[in-house]
Protein backbone atom coordinates (compact mmCIF):
# COMPACT_ATOMS: atom_id res chain seq x y z
CA UNK A 1 0.00 0.00 0.00
CA UNK A 2 1.35 3.44 -0.91
CA UNK A 3 2.11 5.76 1.99
CA UNK A 4 0.04 8.91 1.91
CA UNK A 5 1.90 12.12 0.93
CA UNK A 6 1.13 13.60 4.35
CA UNK A 7 2.50 10.60 6.24
CA UNK A 8 5.62 10.57 4.07
CA UNK A 9 6.12 14.28 4.69
CA UNK A 10 5.64 13.90 8.45
CA UNK A 11 8.19 11.08 8.47
CA UNK A 12 10.72 13.34 6.73
CA UNK A 13 9.99 16.19 9.12
CA UNK A 14 10.30 13.86 12.11
CA UNK A 15 13.73 12.68 10.96
CA UNK A 16 14.94 16.24 10.55
CA UNK A 17 13.64 17.35 13.94
CA UNK A 18 15.71 14.80 15.87
CA UNK A 19 17.14 16.37 18.99
CA UNK A 20 14.69 19.28 19.19
CA UNK A 21 12.79 17.67 22.07
CA UNK A 22 9.45 19.08 23.17
CA UNK A 23 9.46 21.89 20.61
CA UNK A 24 9.99 19.50 17.73
CA UNK A 25 7.33 17.09 18.97
CA UNK A 26 4.87 19.94 19.28
CA UNK A 27 5.74 21.18 15.79
CA UNK A 28 5.10 17.71 14.43
CA UNK A 29 1.62 17.60 15.98
CA UNK A 30 0.90 21.07 14.59
CA UNK A 31 2.16 20.10 11.14
CA UNK A 32 0.00 16.98 11.12
CA UNK A 33 -3.10 18.92 12.12
CA UNK A 34 -2.32 21.63 9.59
CA UNK A 35 -1.76 19.23 6.70
CA UNK A 36 -4.91 17.23 7.40
CA UNK A 37 -6.93 20.44 7.76
CA UNK A 38 -5.60 21.75 4.46
CA UNK A 39 -6.21 18.42 2.72
CA UNK A 40 -9.76 18.20 4.12
CA UNK A 41 -10.46 21.69 2.83
CA UNK A 42 -9.14 20.79 -0.63
CA UNK A 43 -11.28 17.62 -0.66
CA UNK A 44 -14.31 19.70 0.32
CA UNK A 45 -13.54 21.95 -2.64
CA UNK A 46 -13.54 19.01 -5.04
CA UNK A 47 -9.98 17.60 -5.12
CA UNK A 48 -9.44 13.88 -4.76
CA UNK A 49 -7.77 12.77 -1.55
CA UNK A 50 -4.29 12.04 -2.93
CA UNK A 51 -4.16 15.29 -4.88
CA UNK A 52 -5.43 17.21 -1.85
CA UNK A 53 -2.66 15.76 0.30
CA UNK A 54 0.02 16.50 -2.30
CA UNK A 55 -1.21 20.08 -2.54
CA UNK A 56 -1.23 20.47 1.26
CA UNK A 57 2.33 19.16 1.49
CA UNK A 58 3.53 21.41 -1.34
CA UNK A 59 2.00 24.48 0.29
CA UNK A 60 3.50 23.64 3.67
CA UNK A 61 7.06 24.00 2.40
CA UNK A 62 10.20 21.90 2.17
CA UNK A 63 10.64 19.65 5.23
CA UNK A 64 14.36 20.44 5.49
CA UNK A 65 13.74 24.19 5.45
CA UNK A 66 10.91 24.02 7.97
CA UNK A 67 12.91 21.76 10.28
CA UNK A 68 15.92 24.09 10.06
CA UNK A 69 13.73 27.04 11.00
CA UNK A 70 12.24 25.10 13.89
CA UNK A 71 15.70 24.14 15.07
CA UNK A 72 16.74 27.79 15.04
CA UNK A 73 13.57 28.68 16.92
CA UNK A 74 14.21 26.14 19.64
CA UNK A 75 17.96 25.85 19.90
CA UNK A 76 19.47 28.74 21.83
CA UNK A 77 23.13 29.65 22.28
CA UNK A 78 23.03 27.82 25.60
CA UNK A 79 21.70 24.72 23.82
CA UNK A 80 24.48 24.93 21.24
CA UNK A 81 27.08 25.29 23.99
CA UNK A 82 25.59 22.36 25.92
CA UNK A 83 25.67 20.10 22.88
CA UNK A 84 29.13 21.31 21.86
CA UNK A 85 30.38 20.50 25.36
CA UNK A 86 28.90 17.00 25.14
CA UNK A 87 30.41 16.55 21.67
CA UNK A 88 33.83 17.77 22.82
CA UNK A 89 33.71 15.41 25.79
CA UNK A 90 32.82 12.48 23.55
CA UNK A 91 35.50 13.37 21.00
CA UNK A 92 38.12 13.83 23.71
CA UNK A 93 37.28 10.47 25.27
CA UNK A 94 37.37 8.73 21.88
CA UNK A 95 40.66 10.46 21.07
CA UNK A 96 42.28 9.31 24.31
CA UNK A 97 40.87 5.83 23.82
CA UNK A 98 42.33 5.75 20.30
CA UNK A 99 45.72 6.74 21.70
CA UNK A 100 45.44 3.85 24.18
CA UNK A 101 44.54 1.38 21.42
CA UNK A 102 47.53 2.60 19.39
CA UNK A 103 49.69 1.90 22.46
CA UNK A 104 48.37 -1.65 22.64
CA UNK A 105 48.96 -2.08 18.91
CA UNK A 106 52.49 -0.76 19.32
CA UNK A 107 53.07 -3.25 22.11
CA UNK A 108 51.78 -6.07 19.92
CA UNK A 109 54.09 -4.97 17.10
CA UNK A 110 56.98 -4.80 19.54
CA UNK A 111 56.28 -8.29 20.86
CA UNK A 112 55.93 -9.70 17.34
CA UNK A 113 58.87 -7.98 15.67
CA UNK A 114 61.00 -6.81 18.58
CA UNK A 115 61.05 -3.54 20.53
CA UNK A 116 63.49 -1.98 18.06
CA UNK A 117 60.64 -1.73 15.52
CA UNK A 118 58.58 0.34 17.94
CA UNK A 119 61.08 2.25 20.04
CA UNK A 120 64.41 1.98 18.25
CA UNK A 121 66.29 4.99 16.91
CA UNK A 122 66.93 5.37 13.22
CA UNK A 123 70.49 5.06 11.98
CA UNK A 124 72.68 8.02 12.81
CA UNK A 125 70.90 9.03 16.02
CA UNK A 126 73.43 9.56 18.82
CA UNK A 127 73.19 10.79 22.39
CA UNK A 128 75.46 12.92 24.52
CA UNK A 129 77.32 11.23 27.35
CA UNK A 130 75.06 12.93 29.87
CA UNK A 131 71.95 11.71 28.06
CA UNK A 132 73.31 8.15 27.88
CA UNK A 133 74.09 8.25 31.55
CA UNK A 134 70.53 9.35 32.25
CA UNK A 135 69.07 6.52 30.12
CA UNK A 136 71.35 3.96 31.77
CA UNK A 137 70.41 5.29 35.19
CA UNK A 138 66.72 4.81 34.33
CA UNK A 139 67.35 1.31 32.90
CA UNK A 140 70.25 -0.15 34.90
CA UNK A 141 69.86 -3.59 33.26
CA UNK A 142 70.36 -2.26 29.72
CA UNK A 143 73.64 -3.46 28.16
CA UNK A 144 74.13 -0.39 25.93
CA UNK A 145 73.10 3.24 25.67
CA UNK A 146 71.01 2.47 22.55
CA UNK A 147 69.15 -0.30 24.38
CA UNK A 148 68.55 1.98 27.37
CA UNK A 149 67.21 4.68 25.05
CA UNK A 150 64.97 2.09 23.39
CA UNK A 151 63.50 1.07 26.75
CA UNK A 152 62.88 4.73 27.55
CA UNK A 153 61.14 5.31 24.22
CA UNK A 154 59.12 2.14 24.73
CA UNK A 155 57.66 3.71 27.82
CA UNK A 156 56.70 6.80 25.82
CA UNK A 157 55.24 4.89 22.89
CA UNK A 158 53.44 2.13 24.76
CA UNK A 159 52.97 2.88 28.43
CA UNK A 160 52.07 6.58 28.15
CA UNK A 161 49.65 5.79 25.35
CA UNK A 162 47.99 2.99 27.29
CA UNK A 163 47.70 5.32 30.29
CA UNK A 164 46.01 7.88 28.03
CA UNK A 165 43.70 5.13 26.80
CA UNK A 166 42.71 4.22 30.34
CA UNK A 167 41.95 7.88 30.96
CA UNK A 168 39.85 7.87 27.77
CA UNK A 169 38.01 4.75 28.89
CA UNK A 170 37.24 6.43 32.20
CA UNK A 171 36.07 9.60 30.42
CA UNK A 172 33.87 7.52 28.09
CA UNK A 173 32.37 5.51 30.95
CA UNK A 174 31.65 8.72 32.83
CA UNK A 175 30.13 10.22 29.67
CA UNK A 176 27.82 7.23 29.18
CA UNK A 177 26.82 7.34 32.86
CA UNK A 178 25.94 11.05 32.91
CA UNK A 179 24.15 10.81 29.55
CA UNK A 180 22.06 7.82 30.63
CA UNK A 181 21.28 8.63 34.21
CA UNK A 182 23.15 11.78 35.17
CA UNK A 183 22.62 15.50 34.64
CA UNK A 184 23.49 15.29 30.93
CA UNK A 185 20.62 12.98 29.96
CA UNK A 186 18.06 13.94 27.35
CA UNK A 187 18.22 15.56 23.91
CA UNK A 188 19.36 18.96 25.22
CA UNK A 189 22.77 17.42 25.92
CA UNK A 190 22.88 15.18 22.85
CA UNK A 191 26.12 15.75 20.95
CA UNK A 192 25.50 16.99 17.41
CA UNK A 193 26.11 13.78 15.47
CA UNK A 194 26.92 15.34 12.11
CA UNK A 195 29.44 17.95 13.33
CA UNK A 196 31.03 15.44 15.71
CA UNK A 197 31.47 12.94 12.85
CA UNK A 198 32.83 15.69 10.61
CA UNK A 199 35.35 16.91 13.21
CA UNK A 200 36.41 13.33 14.01
CA UNK A 201 36.82 12.47 10.32
CA UNK A 202 38.86 15.62 9.68
CA UNK A 203 41.10 15.46 12.75
CA UNK A 204 41.78 11.74 12.68
CA UNK A 205 42.07 11.77 8.89
CA UNK A 206 44.72 14.51 9.06
CA UNK A 207 46.50 12.64 11.84
CA UNK A 208 46.47 9.42 9.78
CA UNK A 209 47.87 11.26 6.75
CA UNK A 210 50.60 13.01 8.78
CA UNK A 211 51.57 9.75 10.48
CA UNK A 212 51.67 7.91 7.17
CA UNK A 213 54.34 10.25 5.77
CA UNK A 214 57.24 9.23 8.06
CA UNK A 215 56.13 5.59 7.89
CA UNK A 216 56.29 5.65 4.09
CA UNK A 217 59.59 7.55 4.15
CA UNK A 218 61.15 5.02 6.51
CA UNK A 219 59.78 2.14 4.48
CA UNK A 220 61.22 3.70 1.33
CA UNK A 221 64.65 4.02 2.92
CA UNK A 222 64.45 0.51 4.37
CA UNK A 223 65.02 1.62 7.95
CA UNK A 224 62.32 0.12 10.16
CA UNK A 225 63.72 1.35 13.49
CA UNK A 226 60.89 2.91 15.51
CA UNK A 227 58.49 2.72 12.57
CA UNK A 228 55.96 0.90 14.76
CA UNK A 229 55.34 4.04 16.80
CA UNK A 230 53.91 6.01 13.88
CA UNK A 231 52.49 2.92 12.17
CA UNK A 232 50.40 1.92 15.19
CA UNK A 233 49.12 5.47 15.69
CA UNK A 234 48.43 5.88 11.97
CA UNK A 235 46.50 2.61 11.69
CA UNK A 236 44.29 3.50 14.64
CA UNK A 237 43.77 7.06 13.34
CA UNK A 238 42.77 5.66 9.94
CA UNK A 239 40.35 3.20 11.56
CA UNK A 240 38.71 5.97 13.60
CA UNK A 241 38.53 8.12 10.45
CA UNK A 242 36.71 5.39 8.55
CA UNK A 243 34.34 4.73 11.47
CA UNK A 244 33.56 8.45 11.85
CA UNK A 245 33.05 8.89 8.10
CA UNK A 246 30.75 5.86 7.89
CA UNK A 247 28.81 7.08 10.93
CA UNK A 248 28.53 10.57 9.44
CA UNK A 249 27.35 9.25 6.07
CA UNK A 250 24.83 7.00 7.76
CA UNK A 251 23.55 10.04 9.65
CA UNK A 252 23.26 12.03 6.40
CA UNK A 253 21.41 9.15 4.71
CA UNK A 254 18.95 8.72 7.55
CA UNK A 255 18.39 12.48 7.76
CA UNK A 256 18.24 12.92 4.00
Amino acid sequence: MNESPIDAYLDRLFDRLAGTGTGGRRALVEAEDHLHSAAAQAVAEGSDRAEAERLAVARFGDATDIAAQLRRAHISTADVLRRAFAGAWLLGAVGLLAIGVSGLLAEALGRLFGPHLVAGDTAGVTYTAERCAEYLRLSPGAPTCARAAELHHWGEVVEYRVAAGLLGLLALALYVAVRRRGPLRGPRWAPPTGPVALVATTVFGLAAALLALPVLAQAAFGDPAGIGANLSAGVVAAAVTVAAAVGGLHRIRTAG
Binding site: R26, A27, F60, D62, A73
Partner: protein
Protein backbone atom coordinates in the same frame (compact mmCIF):
# COMPACT_ATOMS: atom_id res chain seq x y z
CA UNK B 1 1.27 37.62 -6.46
CA UNK B 2 3.50 36.54 -3.62
CA UNK B 3 5.96 38.71 -1.70
CA UNK B 4 9.15 38.02 0.15
CA UNK B 5 8.10 38.30 3.76
CA UNK B 6 11.47 37.80 5.41
CA UNK B 7 11.87 40.43 8.08
CA UNK B 8 8.16 41.21 8.23
CA UNK B 9 6.70 37.86 9.22
CA UNK B 10 6.82 38.57 12.96
CA UNK B 11 4.94 41.85 12.48
CA UNK B 12 2.34 40.19 10.26
CA UNK B 13 1.78 37.30 12.69
CA UNK B 14 1.44 39.60 15.67
CA UNK B 15 -0.99 41.81 13.74
CA UNK B 16 -3.00 38.81 12.51
CA UNK B 17 -3.19 37.42 16.05
CA UNK B 18 -4.48 40.74 17.33
CA UNK B 19 -7.18 40.59 14.67
CA UNK B 20 -8.17 36.93 15.12
CA UNK B 21 -7.74 36.60 18.87
CA UNK B 22 -6.60 33.21 20.21
CA UNK B 23 -6.29 30.84 17.28
CA UNK B 24 -4.32 27.92 15.89
CA UNK B 25 -1.70 28.00 13.18
CA UNK B 26 -3.86 26.89 10.27
CA UNK B 27 -6.50 29.53 10.94
CA UNK B 28 -3.80 32.14 11.42
CA UNK B 29 -2.32 31.37 8.00
CA UNK B 30 -5.75 31.56 6.41
CA UNK B 31 -6.27 34.91 8.11
CA UNK B 32 -2.94 36.18 6.79
CA UNK B 33 -3.81 35.06 3.27
CA UNK B 34 -7.37 36.38 3.37
CA UNK B 35 -6.52 39.74 4.92
CA UNK B 36 -3.73 40.30 2.39
CA UNK B 37 -6.08 39.27 -0.43
CA UNK B 38 -3.67 36.50 -1.37
CA UNK B 39 -0.61 38.76 -1.50
CA UNK B 40 1.17 37.00 1.35
CA UNK B 41 1.23 33.48 0.00
CA UNK B 42 4.14 32.11 2.04
CA UNK B 43 5.05 28.45 2.59
CA UNK B 44 2.52 27.67 5.29
CA UNK B 45 4.91 25.69 7.46
CA UNK B 46 7.12 28.73 8.01
CA UNK B 47 4.50 30.22 10.32
CA UNK B 48 5.11 27.58 12.98
CA UNK B 49 8.82 28.26 13.55
CA UNK B 50 7.93 31.95 13.69
CA UNK B 51 5.19 31.30 16.25
CA UNK B 52 7.55 29.16 18.34
CA UNK B 53 10.23 31.84 18.17
CA UNK B 54 7.74 34.54 19.19
CA UNK B 55 6.61 32.38 22.08
CA UNK B 56 10.19 31.91 23.29
CA UNK B 57 10.54 35.68 23.13
CA UNK B 58 7.43 36.04 25.29
CA UNK B 59 5.41 37.86 22.61
CA UNK B 60 2.80 35.12 22.24
CA UNK B 61 1.54 32.43 24.57
CA UNK B 62 0.11 29.07 23.56
CA UNK B 63 -1.80 26.15 25.00
CA UNK B 64 -3.30 22.93 23.72
CA UNK B 65 -6.98 23.10 22.93
CA UNK B 66 -9.26 20.21 21.96
CA UNK B 67 -12.64 21.96 22.02
CA UNK B 68 -13.25 20.98 18.39
CA UNK B 69 -12.36 17.34 19.00
CA UNK B 70 -8.90 17.87 17.50
CA UNK B 71 -5.86 18.61 19.58
CA UNK B 72 -4.58 21.98 18.43
CA UNK B 73 -2.10 24.47 19.77
CA UNK B 74 -3.77 27.85 20.13
CA UNK B 75 -1.79 31.06 20.21
CA UNK B 76 -2.59 34.49 21.55
CA UNK B 77 -0.79 37.76 22.06
CA UNK B 78 0.76 38.52 25.41
CA UNK B 79 0.94 42.04 26.85
CA UNK B 80 4.57 42.08 25.80
CA UNK B 81 3.47 41.00 22.32
CA UNK B 82 0.96 43.85 22.08
CA UNK B 83 3.65 46.33 23.05
CA UNK B 84 6.06 44.81 20.54
CA UNK B 85 3.37 44.98 17.85
CA UNK B 86 2.79 48.66 18.55
CA UNK B 87 6.52 49.34 18.33
CA UNK B 88 6.92 47.34 15.11
CA UNK B 89 3.92 49.10 13.60
CA UNK B 90 5.48 52.50 14.35
CA UNK B 91 8.73 51.36 12.73
CA UNK B 92 6.83 50.07 9.72
CA UNK B 93 4.84 53.29 9.25
CA UNK B 94 8.06 55.33 9.54
CA UNK B 95 9.66 53.07 6.92
CA UNK B 96 6.66 53.38 4.59
CA UNK B 97 6.66 57.19 4.93
CA UNK B 98 10.39 57.30 4.22
CA UNK B 99 10.17 55.02 1.19
CA UNK B 100 7.14 56.90 -0.13
CA UNK B 101 8.96 60.20 0.25
CA UNK B 102 11.81 58.89 -1.87
CA UNK B 103 9.65 57.17 -4.47
CA UNK B 104 7.17 60.00 -4.89
CA UNK B 105 8.55 62.72 -7.20
CA UNK B 106 8.84 66.08 -5.44
CA UNK B 107 6.44 68.80 -6.61
CA UNK B 108 7.91 70.72 -9.53
CA UNK B 109 10.58 68.11 -10.17
CA UNK B 110 10.66 66.44 -13.59
CA UNK B 111 8.75 63.17 -13.57
Amino acid sequence: MSMDLRGHLDLLILAALRHTGPTHGYALIQALRDRSDGTFDLPEGTVYPALHRLERAGLVASAWNDDTGRRRRCYELTDQGRAALAAKQSEWHALVRGVAAILTPAQGAPA
